[in-house]
């Protein structure tokens, strides 16, 4: 447990330092000192707020997310095409529906990843999450059967939790 917290702390530290270096662009000693001070203040505040945990600093899982993201981009591109066509059609032919989707994700991080992936894909929006059921509003009823989300569910679970967890 202690080791995990150190890992989250280091992940947050690396992320903040990287963010500062990427935003600043001026690397004189004075400004670097100021940047170090601001990073330290952020870390102290995060420690005091007690948010240095799995959800506050999910940088340990960054490889999983990096592998998941290209697949998500592909899905987003496909869904975008559908919605763009729906927007531009002279005769509107949408058939919105509310669908209940059951997810196999256990941890909150995996659930959030799955729900956000659904929302990011145009044409589907997560309306409500309760336990392992999600209420999804979809633009096309026929394309939003609960089975359509199975692959996304599996992949987001793997991205957030890794493959070793069975359920």
């Amino acid at each position: 447990m202690k080791g995990a917290r150190v890992a989250y702390f280091l992940g947050l530290l690396v992320a903040l330092v990287g963010f500062w270096l990427g935003m600043s662009g001026h690397y004189t000693p004075l400004l670097l000192t100021l940047g170090a001070v601001s990073v330290a203040v952020c870390l102290i505040l995060a420690y005091r707020l007690d948010i240095i945990d799995r959800e506050g600093a999910p940088y340990v899982r960054i490889i999983g997310f990096a592998l998941y993201f290209p697949w998500l981009m592909k899905e987003i591109a496909k869904a975008n095409w559908t919605v763009v066509k729906a927007c531009l059609k002279a005769e509107m032919d949408i058939s919105p529906a509310l669908v209940k989707v059951k997810t196999a994700c256990v941890t909150d991080l995996a659930k959030v990843t799955f729900a956000n992936s659904i929302t990011l894909t145009p044409g589907t929006v997560t309306v409500e999450i309760e336990g392992d059921k999600m209420l999804v509003h979809a633009l096309y009823e026929q394309e939003a059967q609960p089975e359509a989300f199975d692959e996304m569910d599996r992949r987001s679970r793997e991205a957030a939790d890794g493959k070793r967890r069975p359920a």
Binding site: H26, T28, L30, L31
Partner: protein
């Protein structure tokens, strides 16, 4: 200066932005639903901040973004909580006075722009007085690249301290008035509403808005 060279793209951008501001202003004046007005004032801040950036006033754009779009929307919503949801229509005769004030102010502002120096004029007060000195010495004095920062933080440090204090006090005062805390005024009023049946029944925003 991007505006000094005749650039048709930037001119179009300026026209569209000012047109947007105009439409939002008219809509704010005409609408009755206070929630819509709060939302539109947020949009007004967003557009005007883009326009500030387009006319090279990036620091003003920053302030407008933080205060106008972020903070004032929240404060206005908190203020809306304490009053009703729709504005009463004003008698047209009583609208005459504010209209005259607006027109007079506009005329005075336009009259004042005649005296303004051209953009990038080397003989303008901004480019001949203390500003030029700041531009020369700021880097050697402080080592900060953005000139605005040492001017505000170092050369006019006490001035900025005073301003910050005023803004802080104003923020605290607003928070006390609107009640973001535990014993919020809004909560007190709501409890009073519940204990006094039919005292002031606020119209429900959802139903009211959906019917419209």
């Amino acid at each position: 200066m991007a505006m000094s060279e005749p650039d048709i793209g930037m001119a179009l951008v300026n026209i569209v932005l000012l047109g947007l501001l105009f439409v939002v202003g008219i809509a704010i004046a005409r609408l009755r639903s206070l929630f819509a007005i709060v939302m539109l004032s947020g949009i007004y801040s967003l557009v005007s901040a883009v326009w500030y950036v387009a006319v090279d006033a990036v620091d003003v754009g920053f302030t407008e973004a933080a205060v106008g779009a972020g903070m004032s929307t929240a404060v206005l919503l908190g203020a809306m909580l304490l009053t009703s949801r729709t504005a009463k229509p004003e008698k047209s005769l009583r609208q005459l006075g504010p209209l005259l004030v607006c027109i007079a102010t506009g005329i005075m502002l336009i009259y004042a722009t005649v005296d303004l120096p051209a953009v990038g004029d080397p003989n303008s007060p901004a480019n001949t007085g203390v500003g030029l000195t700041y531009l020369r010495v700021a880097w050697f004095d402080t080592g900060i690249e953005n000139v605005v920062t040492p001017v505000l933080g170092s050369y006019r440090g006490f001035d900025t301290l005073g301003e910050t204090t005023v803004v802080f006090v104003a923020g605290i005062a607003v928070a006390l008035l609107l009640g973001f805390g535990e014993r919020s005024l809004a909560e007190t009023i709501r409890n009073e509403d519940k204990s006094l049946p039919k005292a002031t029944t606020k119209p429900d925003p959802e139903n009211e808005e959906t019917d419209a």
